[in-house]
């Protein structure tokens, strides 16, 4: 109590020591470098001409940047048995339909769980929270048995349909709806004679656009980055990410094209995140779990 409060204008200046600020800056910079340098190295590698790729010792900069690796990547992939475009098509197709399905099914379920009171509501939500607690690969053996019972092994369906029931985006959307869609607005829509489904579609959904984006990126990043799967064995159904794995494992001779492929792959999710960062953070504000 002895210490006098410092103020600037009308605001209280918080207790911040210069030593603490410096310490934090140093730790943050070191951690930032640890995170950033490998990413930077991939990007640099993808622009290095052949002779620089094999230069010893390896350099963290490029002398004569070139797009050769990217053109190599295209030639390499078009020489392969399954054309390059097919891998890309597979990834885009799976990602698009999986994410769309997850958005539709997930948001309907999120609305029902957040805004309607019905028997079984809590039990279902608890089950969803529980599903966040274990990694889906635990289930892969029995998952395989179920998929083969449907005859879906080696089809797009084996990836797309289960991903439509992804719980992460649903959970975040439900939490967000609870805090940002006031019950009074829904009640007045119902009084005007709107059906429950209509209320969901025309009132609630437009109010939770940030949560859509979050759900989309959650589902998107999983599907976009899905590589080889035990449910798919036909080469022509495999994803772009799988193709990249093959190139990268081709060893040092292909390291340029491998780096180019990695850069291409990461541009999309990173781009989606950059464009929507503030909306995603907004959704995360309500992500908390009550005990």
């Amino acid at each position: 109590m002895a210490k006098k409060l410092r103020t600037r204008g009308h605001r209280v200046v918080l207790n911040r020591s210069a030593g603490g600020d410096t310490g934090i800056t140093i730790v943050l910079t070191l951690m930032g470098l640890f995170m950033f340098l490998p990413m930077y190295y991939v990007i640099i590698q993808s622009f290095k001409p052949l002779d620089e790729l094999f230069m010893f010792p390896p350099r963290f900069y490029v002398i004569n940047p070139t797009f050769d690796n990217f053109t190599d990547l295209v030639t390499l992939l078009s020489d392969s048995w399954v054309p390059f475009s097919r891998y890309i098509f597979n990834t885009v197709f799976i990602t698009l339909f999986g994410t769309l399905g997850n958005l539709i099914f997930g948001s309907m379920a999120a609305y029902a769980l957040a805004k309607l009171r019905f028997p079984g509501r809590n039990a279902i939500f608890q089950l969803i929270v529980m599903s966040l607690m274990f990694h889906s690969t635990v289930n892969q053996v029995t998952h395989f048995i179920i998929l083969s019972a449907f005859g879906w092994i080696d089809t797009y369906l084996s990836i797309i349909v289960p991903s439509m029931a992804g719980t992460m985006g649903l959970y975040l959307m439900k939490q967000f709806m609870e805090t940002s869609v006031p019950d009074t607005v829904l009640e007045s829509a119902r009084l005007d004679g709107a059906s429950e489904f209509r209320t969901y579609l025309t009132i609630a959904m437009p109010m939770v656009k940030p949560a859509w984006l979050t759900l989309i990126i959650e589902c998107f990043k999983t599907l976009w980055n899905s590589g080889s799967s035990i449910y798919i064995h036909s080469e022509e159904l495999k994803t772009f990410n799988y193709a990249i794995q093959q190139i990268v494992s081709g060893g040092i001779a292909r390291s340029g094209a491998g780096a180019a492929a990695t850069v291409v792959m990461m541009l999309v999710p990173v781009g989606v995140f950059v464009l929507n960062q503030s909306k995603i953070i907004e959704t995360m504000g309500s992500s908390g779990m009550k005990d």
Binding site: Y41, L132, H135, V141, T142, I145, M164, D192, G193, M289
Partner: protein, 316 residues
Amino acid sequence: MSQTSEQIKRPVQRSEMSKIQWTWKEMKRNKTAYFMLAPFLILFIVFTVLPVFLSMILSLTDFNMLEMPSWKGVTNFTRLFLEDEIFILACQNTLIFACVTGPVSYLLSLLIAWFINELPPKIRAVVTLVFYAPSISGQVYLIWKTLFSSDAYGWVNATLIDLGLMTKPILWFENADYVMGLCIVVALWTSLGTAFLAFIAGFQTVDRSMYEAAAVDGIKNRWQELWYITLPTMRPQMMFGAVLSITGAFGFGAVVDALCGFPSVDYAAHTIMHHLNDYGGQRYEVGYASAIAVVLFVIMISCNIVVKKALSKVGE
């Protein structure tokens, strides 16, 4: 107006009837809710809930996907814990892996989110991207394989030799002494994901006036502020983050596979997840694989319960 409001079906008064009757009435009143849930719920039950129960049943049988399963009781479990030495090794590795990556990635997410909280918004957005990008960039982590490459083109070997710290390159990913440590580093590198974003958002939901009030009340430094004000306020986010960190800590099998191949050298990075893949995906001993899955499932869920209990003590 009064007519339309009568059309809205009111909740049934509970006291008028028995519990079953009441539940049934409520279910009928909420038909739409069930219709809206149905598409998701059916898929969720078929592809998430059912597999868990199926694993539990199959773990008590011998099943090779071709013949009918035959009942074996708990022999799969006794074989796992008493006869399967590689499983015990896998358990140890998994625990080391999870006990390091889980808490460390959790604390890192929390600390970094806290550190960047007071930065100006534009800079904060950039820093967030730097930390978050590795977790969404798919296979970017393969660059670690290049950096630690065993031939002369590996940057780490080149630098260490250049500095005179060693004379011949180390085969990082083929050496049982280093494999585990390296995998942990790479796993941590990709681990600042959704939990990290949740923490960033959590810190921003704390009202500045609370800090000012705390300063008046005699909070001396930012650490006290963090412990007494910030963390208790964002406890729900911390719970959510913990769940994700635990799930992540047990699910790094794919990263390990891509970095050191399968099986890893001397099983040095062999986790329960790998053991499961081995028996389920390659040997088709489905009963045995299911037993492994059940063990892993129980470990993950109990970790969650313990950590949730611990977190409810924060700031008390």
